[in-house]
Each structure stands twice: as structure tokens, then as C-alpha cells.
Symmetry: C2
Subunit: 322 residues, 2 copies
DNA sequence: TCGAGTCTAGCAACCGGTTGCATTGGAGTA
DNA sequence: TACTCCAATGCAACCGGTTGCTAGACTCGA
């Protein structure tokens, strides 16, 4: 049925160990023998059985990737990049979706633990303590969250927020609203911290769900705050805001400037087109995979990589009216 | 280090085979023994090693899912649903991205073949012959494409196209342009076939790349065709068209009605909001997983499931001007 | 009381590779 | 020539479960 290493051994007149070594330690086998074995293997259509290999080596050559929502463009572009990078390294990627449920997140990590070499956790919702405990069972890399003693990939949203606020200030805005995200969100805390360090007069409005509805429901507070510029937790919230503002007859950017975060709105969409902080999701995916594979076989202090964000100015921000 | 079945056996005073059966064939072990073994296993934190199990049973409890572009919302929502459905059945999903390259697609199927129980192919770009050949190595389910003798999930885009054209005709449009997709696309062929059966005067313009640029570059032809309504290959093409039309001063929907396919534009975006044919991507993902798992252990004629599409009327279509 | 039938559980081979150790043959050296 | 050393290969145990077969204990009916 399926071709095994023994079939190849028999057909090429060598012992199975020689065939095995031809693939996993070529330098230990004579060049002539090697080419012969390879020829026979190719001829028979032999493909090594990863399960068998995993059993003896303890390396599955698989990694797990857990995100809150696969369909969110922020995550899907990260997944795309991570998967491509893993493939480059001859790894395959299990992708799983928690649907924002920490319980599910923990179950998934447990389930993955025995069949992957490591797990990538993107914007996890679990407590730090839980993550640290799970990290004892399986190597983890955390994206978009700071967990003590664990390899981490961060996107410098703090800097992005500062850029955004400077941009608004530069346009003459005096009072700026920060529409925050869920209370447990690392990103949201970073944004608040960054906003608080600047000179600008920033009011915090939240917490809010990280969705369009969240944005729409924040409109009243934004208008009441006296702000003329808003930095939203993410693009979805920003879109919700713009929708809600339009309903109240507030024109963006004439009466109100709006900035989002993530840059997930496909190129030409939206009107006005959204000014936003672009997140390096693809770079984060690649980097996370590399850190994971590195941490799997090289000991050493876990690293923390911080990737730059940037402000993409489009049409939803403009000069403050006097 | 890691707890194995033998540790559990020793600690609970039974043979390994009894422990094994406690998990994989509980009815063969005495209730009292079973509870004791389970207690010990739980106590020790035992978790079965899937690689070892896979080695003897030949079932990995994994499936592969191959798409052209993970970041495309059409696929990512399908991935999300497929992954959730698989998890329900205690399966895990490898996700891979071909970047539209048939070569990569074939390599991925080969690579997956030995470590999954089956592979889901979404909108494959390979030839039917190649797919049939690969189907001998590993169970396949094909989505959005018809391949002889292979389990298939289709979305009835033909019906969707008919609905779209009827909608346009109902609005008084006499001449309708169909901006087709890539020449090899099954979807595109279905749309053309459906359009040709109706009464309407439909001109085919294409092939075009399935992107916004594809849409923009088709604008000239559309205007030259004398059509007042357009059905585009997908939403991206439709958006490109609208962009290009706007540049020429053609107002949608006043001067031209536009319909897309896929419904991937997030809720409130775009102006005017796009009328489109919604594809049942989530249902397709779930269905494909179920068909795959079914075909893995039940023989029988491979099924073909066709899922309904629907027309979502928004703002990009309107009455034809006299 | 005996034999048949039913449950349970143990035994051991097996899945398909990997790898430490032993063996062999030939080259190099004194 | 005798000895050392190394490269190449074979041998066999092992990874962690699964499963067909077998054996012992017990139940039950005749």
C-alpha cells in the first residue's frame, strides 16, 4: 500500500538505517549509496511518515497558531504570513479560532501541546498566570501582549498613538478623545499610556467592545466630550464612529477628525477614507514563527521584539475649525 | 518527563493495553477499572500522544485546508467555519496558502498527504487530471469546482447570476455587461452559462484578473459596450469598476448599476454600498469538513452538494434611465 | 457437577522511522 | 607487516500507543 523505509531498503539492497540516514543525516552515508537510495526512493514514491518520525524524535515539525477570530483581516494577514514563513522552514501550521473565548483558548493550547513543537498566541485573552503555566507544557510565543519570561512580538502601538495625536495636534486640534477598547486589552493600555505622556488634552472614553457597534455607541460621549479629534481603538470602532457621526449630521473630517488602528480597510473603501495606524501584521507573523522555532531548539533568554507601526494619513482627518 | 500510557498502567496496577482500551474502547473494560484508570491518568496529567496513535491506527485526526489566499475574506470566513466544524469532531486543521500558484498547490497536497486524513481544496487552480491523480494519494474534497468522481461542495453562483440579471432587467436595464474572471475559473464559466440562458442581452467582457485592478481596467470596455448594468466576477472587481467609473464621471447607480459577487465588503463600507451575490462560505466550510470526514471512513459514491446563493440588494443598483 | 458462554485483562507483535553501538574493510603510518 | 583510525553500514532497541489472540474467572443452565 504505502511505501515505507523498509521497502526502499529492500529494493536498494541496504539496511533500513542506511535509508533513514540518507534522509536525516546524509553526510553519514557514502555518496554512491546515497544517490542509489534516493533514486530508488523516488522511483517507489517514498515519502517519510511524519508521525513515525515525530514519535522517535519528539519533533512534529508542526506549530499551532491561535487567534481570536480568523475572519478578522488583522489576524488573517498575520496567519498568511506566519504560514508562509513556517513553510519556508518545512513546518506546517495548525490554525485555530477561539471566538474570543478564553476557555476555548486554553483548551486549544492543551490540545495542541502534544502534537506541535510550539504555539503562537495572538492577542491572548487568558491571564498572565495561566499563560505562564501553559508555557511549561509547550513552547509559546505571544504576540501583542507582554508576558513575563516569554518570547514576545509586540507592535509599537504606543508610538503609533503618539504619532496620531501629534498629527491631530499639528492640525490644530486642542482636545482629543481616545475611544478605548476592552478593559483587559494590552493594546488599549498601551494607547492610553502613550496618550497620557503627551502634551495634548486627551480624554479617555471606554471601555468599549472592539466592534463597529462599540464605535456607534461611543458617539454620544465623543460629542459630549468637546473633542474635535478622535483616536479609536481600532478601525472597526472608527468606522462605527463615522457611521454614528454621520447619522447626527457631524461631517468627517470637517467637524471631527477620526483615526483608527490596524489598517484593515481594503484600499479604496470608505468615504472619507480612514486615516489609521498601520500594524505590521505580516512582519509579526513571520517574526513570531522564527522566534518560536528558535526557542524550540536553542535555549537562552526569551527575546522581545517590537515592530514599528506607522501612521497612514488618508481623508478622515483635517484641520480643526476655529 | 512526559506521562505515557505505561506510567498510567504502572500507577494503576493494570497492563498498558487496559489503559489504552480505557480511552479508545471503554466498553471493553470493567467500569470499576475504568474509573480507577481515569482517575490515575487525570492525576498524572496523562494526555495521549497523537503521533503514536496515528502511527498504529493510520488516522491522524488532522485535515488539511488549502486556499489560494488566506487573507481574502471569502476564504478566511470559510476557514473559520471549517476549523470550528473540525474541532467539533475532534479534528485539527492545517491551513495553507498557495498564493495562487498551482505548483505550490500540488506541493502542499503532497506534503499534507502523509499527515492528514484528508484535504479540502478550495477553488483549486490545478487541472482536473492532476486533482484526480492526487486524489489517489489522499482523500480530497473540492470546493467551488467540479471534478469527476470527487466529493464536491458547490455554491450555486449560476442561480445567483440569474437573480442578479433578473434584478437588473426588472429595473429596466436592456443591455448588461458580464465582466468575467480568469479564464480557468469554474465560477466564471458558471456565470457565463447562466447569463447566456436568460432572455437578457448580455455581453461578456474578459477574461480579467480577479482584483480591483482587473475591474478598473475593464471600465473602458464596459462603457463602450453600451451596457447600463454590470455584473462583475467578484466584489473586488466590482469595487475597481466603481472606482474607475467614478473617475470618468459616471455615477453609480444613476448612470450605471453594478453588482458584485461574494459579499466580502464589511457591512457599512463603500459608497454607494455594493449590491452583491452573497456566497454561503461558512456553510461551505462546514459542509466540506463533514463530507471529508464522512468520505474518510465510509465508502460510497462521492456526493455533490450545492449550496444556495442569494442576492443582497444595496445601493449600487438602480433603475435604468430612459 | 460439568460444559458453554461472557467478561476482563494480559501478552506480544506491530505501526515506520531513529540512533547508539558494534562490525567491517581499507587507508595511512611506523 | 602489524597496528591504528576512520568511514560506511548493519543491528537492534526504542518512541507510545493499538489490537488480535489467549487465558482466567465467573455465570448460568442442564
Amino acid at each position: 500500500m504505502t511505501v515505507t523505509i523498509r521497502d526502499v531498503a529492500r529494493a536498494s539492497g541496504v539496511h533500513v538505517s542506511t535509508v533513514s540516514r540518507t534522509f536525516s543525516a546524509p553526510h553519514l552515508v557514502n555518496a554512491a549509496t546515497r544517490t542509489r537510495v534516493l533514486a530508488v526512493a523516488d522511483d517507489l514514491g517514498y515519502r517519510p511518515n511524519r508521525a513515525a518520525r515525530a514519535l522517535t524524535t519528539g519533533r512534529t515539525h508542526n506549530v499551532g497558531l491561535i487567534v481570536a477570530d480568523i475572519a478578522n483581516p488583522f489576524f488573517s494577514s498575520l496567519i498568511k504570513a506566519a504560514q508562509a514563513q513556517a513553510r519556508l522552514r518545512d513546518y506546517h501550521v495548525f490554525v485555530a479560532d477561539t471566538d474570543e473565548d478564553p476557555q476555548v483558548e486554553e483548551e486549544l493550547i492543551q490540545a495542541f501541546a502534544k502534537q506541535v513543537d510550539g504555539v503562537l498566541l495572538c492577542s491572548p485573552r487568558l491571564t498572565n498566570k495561566t499563560i505562564e503555566r501553559l508555557g511549561e507544557d509547550v513552547p509559546l510565543v505571544v504576540v501583542n501582549r507582554r508576558v513575563k519570561g516569554m518570547p514576545t512580538v509586540l507592535m509599537d502601538v504606543g508610538r503609533g498613538a503618539r504619532l496620531a495625536i501629534e498629527h491631530l495636534v499639528g492640525l490644530g486640534h486642542r482636545r482629543i478623545a481616545l475611544v478605548t477598547g476592552p478593559s483587559g486589552s494590552w493594546t488599549s493600555k498601551e494607547m492610553q499610556a502613550a496618550a497620557a505622556t503627551g502634551e495634548a488634552d486627551v480624554v479617555f472614553l471606554g471601555p468599549n467592545p472592539p466592534t463597529e457597534l462599540g464605535g456607534m455607541s461611543a458617539v454620544t460621549d465623543v460629542l459630549a466630550s468637546g473633542a474635535t479629534g478622535v483616536l479609536a481603538y481600532n478601525d472597526l470602532v472608527a468606522l462605527g464612529l463615522m457611521e454614528g457621526l454621520a447619522e447626527r449630521g457631524t461631517v468627517v473630517p470637517r467637524d471631527m477628525s477620526v483615526i483608527g488602528v490596524d489598517d484593515i480597510v481594503p484600499g479604496r473603501l470608505g468615504s472619507p477614507k480612514l486615516t489609521t495606524i498601520a500594524m505590521p501584521t505580516a512582519a509579526a507573523g513571520r517574526m513570531a514563527v522564527d522566534m518560536l522555532l528558535h526557542s524550540v531548539d536553542a535555549e537562552g533568554a526569551p527575546g522581545v521584539t517590537t515592530l514599528e507601526t506607522s501612521l497612514v494619513v488618508r481623508e478622515s482627518t483635517g484641520e480643526a475649525r476655529r
